[in-house]
Assembly symmetry: C2
DNA sequence: ACATTAAATGTAAGCGCTTACATTTATAAC
DNA sequence: GTTATAAATGTAAGCGCTTACATTTAATGT
């Protein structure tokens, strides 16, 4: 591999000049610039990015921590982020935190030790305090889907209260009055917010939230399955089920089939997130759109702006959900009676 | 940030000694090793990985190029790879090639310019020649889902002929005789192989492959939709449809519904890949398992072995597909008649 | 006690760049 | 033709490590 030294010799200039043309420094005459680029071409020179990083104290890499590399939710987010950065010559180092405190911390440590210039974090298990302390460190970061008031300018969020509200309102407007709810883990902010929006809509329709119709899941498919099974066994009847995300909704659909319920006639089911497979399930799932790809791109812009001082479109931290109506909500007709 | 120099001063030893304890060099007495680690702790020292890379000429990073960061296929693959590498302190730089020749080349260039020690490539558009030339370069790489005879020892493959065979055989065993087929782009090796296996099974059942029942798709959902629509319009009747991947199968399912066909009674549909949403569609899709996660891990092991000289479990390049029977194939009964 | 050898530690060069500062060269003003 | 000023280029010191080689110290045999 040719080095800058060989280029400088071939071009008959100093190291510094070669470095200047590489970095588009203005103070280089056209003549020498041409000599240098010619020499580079001749030698097939490629700058050594490691050496550049060491000398300039900038690794041009940004770390991304997500819970999982797989699954319908993170894909679009990573995709938007990668795209933004590659166009800027930055690279993306990706790690997975698996929603586990220890592994999330390790992941962050790992990315920092890799000299990332900035971090994009989608973390769930790590504490607010930890993140606040982290924010005092040398590596700037932005949070996706997490709100910490002390760090509010770097939290990129969905308005989950509104989303919960939209979902419930839609179901209510279809005439449902007895609505069960499978939430996420309620210590998680997003799960709590979605439920709060849900309750707001109920209140608007002068309905009380029935705690018996609440099942706390964990955002994973299996808990949707278990959730409906459990709700179905208790005595309060319901005609619709709202799930705090699509995965649980799909689990609930499977459960409904096992219980012999016809969808959506005997039970309406609503999801949340609008992951791509919601179009593929049958009946197609009505849900709430979570513009995770846009939010990913926004996080990337945040880094470009705050870490690399690039011009970006104006930064936005709060995103709005949107109702997606498909075919999983029926107009209220029959009522499930519990079997208890 | 503390540097090795400060550690050495605090511990009262030389730079080299500090470096030695970092790298677990054997020739360090226990006493000094303790002094040094104590100093490190006291200073909160973290090695600068960029400097390490420059000095050791090893970046400890491996590049991964996939077609898309999203989608059900690549997620599990990335996940397996990330896991393997993180446990070894290597990091993963991910880029997307979008099945486009220019972008794939750019992606590879990008990863190489980032001083990756090795590459894992899932490329589709780039030519064999390009890859053969690339193999002469300084950065070793392994290919997933691509066969080039000159590079056969670094091609990690699924036995697609077998997979195509298994799918067809299962459908034939259920009594179907008129079987339509939506293939991938036939210039792609995997698409061709799957079709070849399909034909083998047909031959085994003394059936001829009917070219009228072949539609060439592009592995994407929309082409599955179009494919079935088109096949349905021609004159040859068929009772089953085999698709060369799950995405197209799902597209075909939507198409079938739009055509008013009851699944699987009036039309049996078979997929390929066993991506996770095949369980969620209705009826649940019978398919062929593609152990992409294992193959990803194997690719990671290949890199560990060939690039970092690590001990790994024995390397395997050919993986076997497996039939997954769900509910989308009926025992042969009614026949669709074409509308032509 | 002394030579012989192995183990532990230190010295210093170098990895391929960037960049502050010094120097040279061109340009303009009088 | 000087001198002042700006533009272009060069010099050399790092960035924070690794590692070949040199040196010192400890262990062993006699």
């Amino acid at each position: 591999m040719a080095t800058i030294y060989e280029v400088s010799k071939l071009a008959g200039v100093s190291l510094a000049t070669v470095s200047r043309v590489m970095n588009n420094n203005a103070n280089v005459s056209d003549a020498t610039r041409k000599k240098v680029t010619a020499a580079m071409d001749e030698l097939g020179y490629r700058p050594n990015s490691i050496a550049q990083s060491l000398a300039s104290n900038c690794s041009n890499s940004v770390g991304l921590l997500v819970s999982e590399l797989q699954g319908p939710f993170y894909g679009p987010m990573m995709s938007g982020i990668e795209n933004t950065f590659r166009n800027q010559g930055k690279h993306l180092i990706i790690a997975a935190g698996h929603s586990d405190e220890e592994r999330e911390k390790q992941g962050i440590e790992f990315l920092i030790s890799r000299n990332c210039d900035g971090l994009i974090l989608h973390v769930e298990a790590v504490s607010d305090d930890y993140l606040i302390k982290l924010s005092k460190g040398r590596t700037p970061f932005v949070l996706i889907n997490r709100y910490i008031s002390e760090l509010s300018d770097r939290c990129i969020l969905l308005n989950n209260i509104k989303g919960g509200y939209l979902a419930a309102k839609h179901v209510l407007e279809q005439g449902h009055k007895d609505i069960a709810y499978i939430s996420g883990p309620l210590w998680k902010r997003d799960a709590k917010d979605r439920l709060e929006g849900h309750k707001q809509a109920l209140a608007e329709f002068n309905l009380e939230f029935d705690e018996n119709l609440l099942f706390q899941g964990d955002f994973m498919e299996a808990s949707g399955y278990e959730g409906l099974k459990s709700l179905h066994q208790q005595t309060h009847p319901f005609t619709a089920l709202i799930c705090a995300n699509d995965e649980m909704a799909v689990g609930a659909m499977a459960s409904a089939r096992d219980l012999g319920l016809t969808l959506p006639k005997q039970l309406s089911i609503m999801g949340y997130d609008n992951v791509f497979f919601t179009r593929h399930v049958y009946p197609q799932l009505s849900t709430v759109n979570y513009p995770i790809d846009e939010m990913g791109r926004m996080a990337a812009d945040w880094v470009l702006n705050h870490v690399y001082q690039k011009q970006t479109p104006p930064l936005q931290t709060l995103f709005e959900p949107e109702l997606i109506v498909r075919h999983s909500i029926s107009r209220q007709s029959a009522q499930i009676t519990s079997q208890g």
